[in-house]
């Protein structure tokens, strides 16, 4: 990989940077997961993070929301260096961040409404009626009005994700994070979620970071795309730049879907057998 790809892309002019990542290195145990990453995320953009499974996308996202400390390198979120944050600053900072996790992560012992009100209940002194009204407003944003009294287990997968979005935006965060919003959803619901993400940026001016596997969805929503590969940044840039990129590796990544669709059954079986033999060989 050439050096130039590791350099941070210059942020678009006149827009302030909300997250600044410099030389981010992370380990799980002794295994290095991220190998010195540089990214700037600017205000009001939708940054899509892509990459193969296990490339470190979720780990990277966790760093962007100060859920995890790096081995080395700096991360500045809204001007706060994560290394300098006290417990109290961290709470202050987190009120400005919202996250919708992959599986929703709604609290199963609370109703949808209570889930969405929880941040208000914990961080504000509003009275209950006001909180309920605010929760209903956010539920309307995600097209879930009227569902506040159901338990999360009574919702469908797509509804859980949308409820999680409502909870993520209840405090009107500056930055919103999504880990695989469309995983496990049918194309229609997934495209509704994409529309929702676009609406959140346009109507509320949020900066949004999205981790996704879905190329189609990435192309639809992204202002810029970051491609991770085994802990390195392969590419940062706009959708057009990505589509026109000369690198074979990136083009392979983009065409991965169509390639897989063309594999015939014989070839597939042979590959499975081959892999099986290979793993057996390794374990010996």
């Amino acid at each position: 990989m050439s050096d130039s790809k590791q350099k941070p892309t210059p942020p678009a002019p006149q827009l302030p940077t909300v997250i600044e990542v410099r030389d981010l290195v992370t380990h799980y145990g002794t295994r290095q997961i991220l190998n010195g990453i540089n990214v700037d995320i600017v205000q009001g953009e939708i940054m899509v993070i892509m990459g193969g499974s296990g490339s470190g996308k979720s780990t990277f996202l966790r760093h962007l929301m100060a859920l995890q400390m790096p081995t080395s390198g700096t991360i500045k979120i809204l001007g706060n260096d994560v290394w300098d944050l006290s417990q109290k600053d961290l709470f202050g900072l987190r009120k400005k961040l919202g996250v919708a996790f992959q599986a929703g992560a709604l609290f199963s012992s609370m109703t949808v409404g209570e889930n969405i009100m929880l941040p208000l209940y914990e961080h504000t002194k509003l009275d209950r009626l006001t909180m309920q009204i605010m929760a209903r407003m956010k539920l309307e944003v995600v097209d879930l009005a009227g569902f506040e009294d159901l338990m999360p287990s009574e919702l469908s997968g797509g509804m859980v994700k949308r409820a999680a979005v409502a909870r993520a935006i209840i405090m009107d965060p500056r930055i919103l994070f999504f880990d695989e919003p469309s995983a496990g959803l049918d194309p229609v619901v997934s495209s509704q979620l994409d529309d929702l993400i676009l609406r959140l940026r346009d109507a509320m001016g949020m900066t949004i970071c999205v981790v996704t596997h879905e190329l189609e969805s990435a192309f639809k929503i992204a202002d810029r795309i970051t491609v991770l590969d085994k802990g390195d940044i392969l590419f940062i840039g706009t959708v057009d730049e990505l589509k026109k990129h000369p690198s074979e590796r990136i083009q392979n990544l983009l065409n991965r879907r169509s390639e897989e669709a063309e594999i015939d059954a014989d070839e597939y079986l042979r590959r499975l057998m081959g892999e099986k033999l290979e793993t057996e060989g390794m374990s010996r």
Binding site: R62, M65, L67, Q87, K88, L90, F91, G92, R94, K95, L97, G98, V99, F101, Q102, A103, G104, A105, L106, F107, S108, L118, P119, E122, H123, F177
Partner: protein, 271 residues
Amino acid sequence: MSERAKPNAVFRFFDRLGRLSVAGLEELGRYGTLLVESFYWLIFGHRIGQPVRIGAFFSEMMEIGVRAIGIVGIMAAAIGAMLAIQGIYSLKIFGAEGHVVFGVAFSMVREFAPLITGILVAGRSGSALSARIGTMKINQEIDALEVMGINPVRFLVVPSLLAALIMVPALTFMSMIVGLWAAGAYVNFALGMSLAAFLDQTISILSVNDLLHGLGKSAIFGLLIALIGVVNGFMVKGGAEGVGKATTRAVVQCISAIVVTDMLFALVATL
């Protein structure tokens, strides 16, 4: 792999022993940290706008304490009767079955009430705690709490810890009474001693010290149950299988910790 010389059995044994000790120490450290952190949130939480919620505390008291009243009561009655039956049977050899009250009163109040209550609460709540927190961990609900700026220890752990600390002694006190009553009922049936006489004798035999011994150690059992349940829950990795393993591990550890602590208490108290 194959190029490296195979370590011999002795080396492997010590290597394993070393690893296990380090892991054990690390886990002990986790318990200590969690305990300290819990007290921190309890005392200073409100100062940084993160008070421990009374509502959560009450619902935990309900879950750990009130809902266990039935089963703890039944078990305490069975143990009390068992002590009386066993006591009369063995004392009969010396023709001293009238002294059964001594044995029953001491063993129920100092040993069996705390022990049976602790073990039952460990089975009910130690496992429930680790299952609940473990499930929350794999569903990323713990992460969600953190990002919302809600400390999971304050939000999830402190209410349970406090509830266990109060409810286990309370249940133990109830077991003492129920157990003694059941023993009295059997003695009444077997020896014709009236229940009032049995209770009179019991009260004159027991000192406040005996009561405090039983209640004091049950408070420690409560603390152990909550801590072990919570730590195992937070350590869950992987999916539903991980939760299952953590739950089993929590119950086994809780009961072992309770029995060993009980033995240490007995040792110290009789020195």
